[in-house]
């Protein structure tokens, strides 16, 4: 981006904005690393217990293991070394799994993305549709049903809902597998393998989507109702535009802004929510790795996951802002 690009078109302005946001993100990520590192180090509990196993071990042996893992060094020294390593792309070595953290995260990331992306797409598409349908005829039966559904989705904890889904669809009806990532007994290939993955994904995605679907539905409905009562829509209606054109061409575009914000915001929360759902369904993703790492006090893995989540949130926020610019002609960067 050259200095003379100030008078360039919208694309140049946006490009410079994105570059500036990336530069700003660096101190933010550093701050996240430091805060997480200190918080985790200050939490009670000692990873040594897990490393050695639940049996009394001689004190000199415990001290030697502590030194082997560098846990005997003072906190500031460990922090500086950690940050240095992260900047070089080294996320450290997992105490509990005895594997490099990056390898562990990459092994699990794909599986979590499978769940998350499906959930975000499904929740957004269905949520938008339900919201629009509800807003078209406020206080109708369909609207009440959609609102009630949204309220339930918002109120029901996803891990509980997941267990109910298992009980109904796996235990009672026997239609879908109770958990896991794919069939263990048979190794499927080709199309059968795709079907097998889809069958295993159905319940966790349903459990994870419900809440976000509900939020998106509610927000779309509320936002759309508000826009439909603004003066420009009333004016457009007075000029004789069909309700369909009003809704899809004019109102929805304006109403979409808060919805886009929430979809971006959801994305970060789905990472957190997936920890519980992945545990309920035995899904081998990042969320479950985080859950296990908390119990084993596997600091390097926890830090790695938190870093990954922070970076994801920063990127998704950026994408949300770009989507704003594309949706709303008033937004200029």
């Amino acid at each position: 981006m050259s200095a003379g690009a100030g008078d360039a078109g919208d694309g140049g302005g946006l490009g410079r904005y994105v570059a500036r946001r990336f530069v700003n993100a660096v101190p933010l990520i550093l701050g996240v690393i430091v805060v997480n590192f200190v918080l985790i180090a200050l939490a009670p509990g000692d990873p040594i217990t897990h490393l050695i196993g639940e049996f009394p071990a001689p004190a000199d042996y415990v001290e030697r293991v502590r030194a082997d893992y560098g846990l005997d060094r003072p906190l500031p020294e460990r922090l500086v070394r950690y940050v240095g390593n992260v900047l070089r792309g080294d996320l450290g070595f997992s105490f509990a799994n005895r594997l490099p953290v990056l390898d562990l995260l990459l092994q699990r990331l794909g599986r979590t993305l499978m769940l998350m992306l499906t959930t975000v797409v499904l929740a957004s598409a269905v949520g938008l549709t339900l919201g629009v349908l509800a807003a078209r005829r406020p206080h109708s039966l369909g609207d009440r049903a959609a609102t009630g559904f949204a309220l339930a989705g918002y109120a029901i904890p996803e891990f509980w809902f997941g267990q109910v889904l298992i009980l109904v669809f796996a235990v009672w009806l026997g239609w879908l597998p109770a958990g896991g990532f794919r069939s263990v007994r048979i190794d499927y290939t080709g199309w059968a393998a795709v079907v097998d993955y889809a069958r295993h994904m159905a319940l966790p995605v349903a459990a994870l989507s419900f809440r976000y679907l509900a939020i998106t539905t509610r927000l779309t409905r509320a936002s759309l109702l508000e826009v439909m009562n603004t003066q420009y829509i009333v004016a457009a209606r007075a000029r004789g535009l069909s309700e369909r054109a009003l809704l899809w061409r004019h109102a929805l575009r304006a109403a979409a802004l808060p919805v886009v914000t929430v979809i971006g915001y959801n994305f970060a929360f789905i990472v957190a929510g997936s920890a519980l759902v992945e545990t309920v369904f035995g899904w081998p993703g990042i969320g479950r790795l985080m859950y296990d790492s908390i119990f084993t006090r596997d600091y390097p893995v926890l830090l790695g996951i938190l870093l990954l989540v922070s970076v994801t949130v920063i990127i998704v926020n950026l994408l949300t802002d770009i989507a704003y610019a594309l949706l709303d002609p008033r937004v200029r960067y």
């Binding site: 217990t49 070595f93 796996a170 026997g174």
Partner: protein, 517 residues
């Protein structure tokens, strides 16, 4: 059931049932069993860890010098036989002809290397035995001689695959055993070979056709990770798993699993384990033995077993439970010494001049049975005027607090590991604060320490029993710890699975599993 036709039908059904059982009882080879684990093994090197899932998988890939039959009697594993010198100091093991899965022969050099270089510095439990060992030598390729500093009764029981696995020297020599790649792709000499591991999902082992003992019956075993306990029961019910050990099963689910005709449920004692409540002997009030005795009288241990443990236990019969006949004495049986008797508890408290005790009850919040026991005990102790403040904390926090003395009462469970010397002595031996998984009560008695040390040196069980009797007398009066109950082990499996529990540890001996047709 009064009409003749019904009676005939019943008879036919019975005949059919027995007929099937008889027809089923010929072991058949082949097939895959899916075994449930609650979490991934951290790695697969049993030589540097005592973790439960590592043991579960690695016990079937590696071999030890000996293995323990279901009745607790040791028999040769890699060792064909062994002799013990008259002074109980020199153990001489003769090895069988065996090979590792990569074809390299197993020799005495592998045994000596594993013990000296990998186990002694890294295995929390082998260290207890190693401290008693003067030397480990290999006079020839098939002989291992272990010389003790003083007689140590539990030695042979500690030479199993769980506590002294024989690792391949050619892969571990000159490397850091903590980060060696073979930790994740193990090469052992056991009945199964490592095949594939997708972390968080599945771990597969396949039959070793060159196994030095009788080959496994199943073609392969898949360990499947199911992190949530209720989901493990579900996996069994819907046929997504064939075997789950009690360690991983919620007791509350057992009646439901038992009622399922596709499943079989077993309860019994394998390796004795004790549930108990540490009493902080340094808390004002609790430093008086009368008050500690009052605690024993005030708690209805049968009710705790029934309601908190789903009946999977028997109220404890003394400081070392009932699992070892030689470490039990009728005269110190807690069921007769300290029956549930709130009136007696109140008398003892009055005698001690203690009233209005408020105690912090610290326990691992992940243990559902502990939470239930805590509620019951709060109610029962409340009836004798002792207020319990329940403090459920995460396991890592519990360990840090309890073993640094920051508690008043704390529920715990310890396994005996097959010998009271290994698993139970630590509950009563004087211990320094800050050491996890030992005596956290602050109680210390030089006489008890001396008696327990003597018991540990006696291989003869009658002689050991006589020494234990003296220790039991002291402990039963002092009550440094509330002993709650002996644990009953459980297991749930597909109805057609056979051959479980052929060896003492449920996780061991999966080579004996087979499916009835």
């Amino acid at each position: 059931m009064n009409s003749p036709s019904k009676r005939i039908l019943l008879l036919l059904a019975l005949l059919l049932a027995f007929g099937t059982v008889i027809a089923q009882e010929t072991p058949t080879a082949g097939g895959t069993a899916i075994v449930v684990l609650g979490s991934d093994p951290e790695h697969l090197n049993p030589g540097i860890s005592t973790s439960y899932p590592i043991g579960a998988v690695a016990a079937n890939i590696y071999s030890g010098l000996v293995r323990q039959r279901a009745d607790g009697v040791p028999e040769g594993d890699l060792a064909e036989s062994w002799t013990v010198s008259d002074d109980n100091l020199v153990y001489t093991f003769t090895l069988r002809a065996a090979t590792f899965h990569d074809g390299t022969p197993v020799t005495s050099a592998d045994v000596v290397f594993s013990m000296n270089e990998v186990l002694a510095p890294n295995h929390g439990r082998f260290i207890t035995a190693y401290n008693q060992i003067a030397s480990i030598e290999a006079p020839d390729a098939s002989t291992v001689v272990i010389t003790l500093k003083q007689p140590y009764a539990p030695l042979v029981g500690l030479l199993t695959v769980f506590d002294a696995p024989v690792l391949p020297k050619h892969l571990y020599e000159g490397t850091d055993p903590l980060t060696n790649p073979a930790n994740n792709e193990p090469v052992g000499s056991g009945p199964f070979e490592f095949s594939e591991w997708v972390r968080g999902e599945r771990l597969e082992i396949v039959r070793n056709d060159d196994y030095f003992l009788e080959s496994a019956l199943l073609d392969r075993i898949i360990f499947r990770v199911v992190p949530q306990d209720v989901a493990r029961s579900t996996a069994l019910e819907v046929g997504e798993a064939d075997l789950a050990w009690g360690f991983y099963l919620p007791p509350a689910d057992l009646p439901r699993l038992e009622a399922n005709p596709d499943l079989q449920v077993w309860r019994g004692i394998t390796i004795p384990a004790l549930y108990f409540v540490f009493i902080n002997n340094t808390t004002p009030g609790l430093d008086d033995p009368l008050v500690r005795q009052a605690l024993m009288h005030a708690v209805d241990r049968d009710q705790v077993v029934e309601q908190a443990q789903g009946g999977l236990g028997q109220a404890a019969s003394g400081p070392f439970g009932a699992g070892f006949a030689y470490a039990y004495s009728e005269s110190t049986d807690y069921r007769t010494l300290y029956p549930y008797d709130p009136d007696r508890a109140r008398e003892l408290l009055a005698e001690a001049g203690v009233s209005g005790l408020e105690l912090r009850f610290v326990y691992d919040s992940a243990r559902g049975a502990f939470a239930a026991a805590a509620e019951i005990m709060r109610d029962q102790l409340g009836q004798v005027g002792i207020t319990l403040q329940l403090e459920p904390v995460e396991r890592a926090v519990m360990v840090e607090r309890v073993y640094n003395g920051d508690y008043d009462l704390s529920m715990q469970s310890f396994t005996s590991s097959g010998d009271p010397v290994i698993g139970y002595h630590r509950i009563y031996l004087t211990a320094a604060a800050g050491t996890p998984f030992v005596n956290a009560t602050g109680y210390g008695n030089p006489d008890v320490d001396a008696l327990l040390a003597e018991a540990a040196s006696l291989a003869d069980l009658d002689a050991r029993a006589a020494v234990y009797d003296q220790a039991l007398e002291i402990l039963a009066a002092a009550v440094p710890t509330m002993v709650m109950f002996d644990e009953l082990a459980t297991e749930a499996a597909a109805a057609s699975l056979r051959g479980m529990r052929t060896l003492l540890d449920q996780r061991d001996g999966l080579e004996f599993l087979w499916f009835a047709q």
